[in-house]
Amino acid sequence: MTPTQRIFAVAASLVTFAVIIELIRRRKLREEYAFLWVVTGAVMIVLSSWYGLIEGITRLIGAVTVTTTLFLFALLFLLLISVHFTTVLSRLTVQVRRLTQELAILQASRRDLPAPGEHDRER
């Protein structure tokens, strides 16, 4: 990697990490969902600043170039994060369903039925 590339890589990962932390600080990204993002940001910083590590990993997994390793791990991370999102989405779906049902049950249990005669549709 050329020095320019390294500086750009380190800067990009630092900015990403800072954005993630700032979002968590402002509670725009909830802590319980932030775990994978914080890990992603941290790994990006480590990999971009420690070239020996990424070379080692490249040899370890049998990849030919360092870029392959980077792309591979980026893809794996994105995959993990979207699977994680789908589980969160599934949980939210169940919760919304439960709330909607509860609302309907409560509304049916209350005696908010219209007074007799209000509905003359019955033929």
Partner: protein
């Protein structure tokens, strides 16, 4: 609220037929059925006049006046603010029944294809000790003949489900069912599918040790005869979903 209060609520909506506290709740999930729901509710109520059952219509986020029509016909109405799906609407009914201490539920569709005259057959089987009674359109030479492709699909999935259930299921997609309190408790769970409860649910029921029975029922012509599984993509999705659900049945251990 108690059952008495519910019965009173129904009385106030339709003073013609007083409803005494009962142990049976008829659950009718309805989505945009304003034209038919009224007559279905009235037929059911006259059919069950002697038993004095509660009738709950679950309006699954209809955009027409399904709720008003059902209420006018004398049913209690639970309205979903958004459309959740057929299975979720049924489950709302089950949860309502459990909440208000009903001992059993009879469920039927809102489009009028289920002949209310068959209610007694379903309830008799329930009284005989079954937990889930499925009204089958095919048992003992029913007259219903679905299109060829659907018949093939039903046969394959029915065969698999029958294997799991340890008994012959001739009509696992039937929405005409009677359920005991034990079955209601089993369905009061996230495992109940929000879209279409089908052969996979019956497989779970049987594997869970609940007693499953089929009785023959008569089907009336559905006025516009549109299936929930029409189109090109929907049947494909249905095949995928059923295959997945059935494949997972033996891999899941259902806790009560």
């Amino acid at each position: 609220m108690t059952q008495g209060a519910l019965a009173k609520a129904q009385e106030s909506a339709a003073p013609v037929a007083p409803v005494a506290p009962s142990r049976l709740l008829v659950v009718i999930p309805a989505y945009n059925e304003a034209n038919r729901i009224g007559s279905v509710v009235r037929k059911v109520r006259s059919q069950l006049a002697a038993r004095a059952a509660g009738v709950l219509v679950v309006d699954d986020g209809s955009s027409d006046c399904t709720s008003e029509e059902a209420r006018a016909a004398g049913a209690t109405v639970a309205t979903h603010p958004v459309n959740l799906g057929y299975g979720a609407a049924l489950q709302t009914g089950y949860r309502f029944a459990l909440r208000h201490g009903f001992a059993s539920v009879l469920q039927m569709d809102a489009d009028g294809q289920h002949d209310p005259a068959s209610i007694c057959a379903l309830l008799d089987a329930l009284d005989a000790g079954a937990d889930v009674v499925v009204g089958s359109r095919f048992l003992h030479g029913g007259s219903y003949r679905p299109p060829l492709l659907r018949r093939i699909g039903m046969a394959i999935f029915g065969r698999i489900a029958s294997y799991y259930a340890g008994m012959k299921l001739t009509d696992p997609t039937s929405g005409y069912q009677a359920l005991s309190a034990r079955a209601l408790a089993f369905y009061d769970h996230d495992r109940y599918p929000p879209d279409y409860p089908d052969a996979d649910v019956l497989s779970m029921v049987a594997r869970h040790g609940l007693r499953l029975v089929e009785v023959p029922v008569r089907m009336l012509e559905s006025p516009d005869g549109k299936s929930m599984h029409s189109g090109v993509l929907k049947p494909l999705y249905y095949i995928f979903r059923m295959s997945l659900a059935l494949a997972l049945v033996p891999l899941r251990r259902e806790r009560p």
